[in-house]
Amino acid sequence: MSEAVKADVPDWRDDIFAALKAAEIRQVGYVPDAGHARLIELCRDDTEIRAVPLTTEEEGVALAAGAWLGGHRAALLMQSSGVGNCINMLSLTKTCRFPLLMLVAMRGEWAEFNPWQVPMGSNTRAALELCDVLVYRVEHPEDAAETVAAALDMAFKADFAAAVLLSQRLIGAKRWVK
């Protein structure tokens, strides 16, 4: 899981973390993904955030609901494959109108070498929209902060479920540096 990103180079991952902090996110559930590695590290190191590793992504949907019942804002980090795991649990979010922010690192949509990632990766948006999750997408690093902040508002000010898809092109362009 070690990351090739240099810690001293601020980039869009730091911008996303700053947006989570500005929105007073207190719990972050995650299933590790290389695209989220730096964000996970930042969350784990933050004393005000409880970072909760999950065995499967739908646990995080229930975690976020419980957090909100207790007055905490939660965010979930996952890979696109994990979105499929969340589908029935998202009925909890919708029926009770719980706020939810999902940050989804995309796989299987751009220069993918693993065909097993493609079926879920190419249907991530459709699957989320089928569950009435509002879907936003970041293609360019400079848009990350604003997009995540907008999704956070939709979640915690308007009480909707929102997902931000971090495109594989975005992640790959920054990450696969040897």
């Binding site: 207190r26 999950l54 065995t55 229930a62 609901a65 019942l69 207790g70 029935n88």
Partner: protein, 198 residues
């Protein structure tokens, strides 16, 4: 094997068990899982501090974890069934890593899927939830088969120093359904108001 299990035939009445857990509940917050444990809680008396799952099978323990982390000064009790817990078995591992001292996860185990026609669950064969909880990192995990054990556990919920797990052996019967509100928005909003955050 199951035939040699000494506790096999000792089982509690589920409604009495829920009443015992909620007796003198004080400020205790309750999360119940899809199915019969929700009816059990309603039968014990509806309360704004009860959050009932009517769906989202497998999610009860994780709702309890999020709540426990958000409200460290309050005690959180999750009561769910064996089928619901089995669907979210991984959440025992997730909670075992976090172990908030204010969370108690309780499984009413009758070895059956009561809501769907009483088909046997894995616990009716050889799956042991208490052993699973211990293996997942719960330092205190109890197999409760009598009223004395239940009363001890009910007291521990209020002063434990680590996350608790309990499997309560209950009879595989179907007492008359007692239905609490099922409007999720109402359940969410009244819960938050009851604890002063909305």
């Amino acid at each position: 094997m199951i035939a040699n299990e000494p506790n096999l035939h000792r089982r509690l009445d589920r409604r009495a068990a829920m009443r015992a857990l909620l007796e003198n509940r004080g400020e205790l917050l309750l999360v119940t899982g899809l199915g019969s444990t929700t009816w059990d809680a309603a039968a014990a008396g509806d309360d704004d501090r009860n959050f009932y799952l009517w769906g989202a099978m497998g999610g009860a323990a994780m709702v309890g974890l999020g709540l426990a982390l958000a409200q460290p000064d309050r005690r959180i009790l999750v009561v769910t069934g064996d089928g619901e817990m089995l669907m979210g078995l991984g959440s025992l591992a997730t909670i075992g890593v976090q172990r908030p001292p204010n969370l108690a996860v309780t499984v009413f185990d009758n070895g059956h899927y009561g809501e769907t026609g009483m088909q046997q669950s894995h616990t009716a064969e050889r799956v042991e939830l208490v052993a699973a909880a211990r293996a997942c990192g719960f330092k205190e995990a109890f197999d409760i088969v009598d009223e004395l054990g239940l009363r001890d556990f009910a007291a521990q919920i209020h002063n434990a120093a680590t996350a608790l797990f309990a499997r309560v052996a209950i009879c595989a019967d179907e007492p008359p359904r007692v239905l609490p509100p099922r409007d999720g928005l109402l359940l969410k909003t009244r819960f938050r108001r009851a604890i002063g955050i909305d």
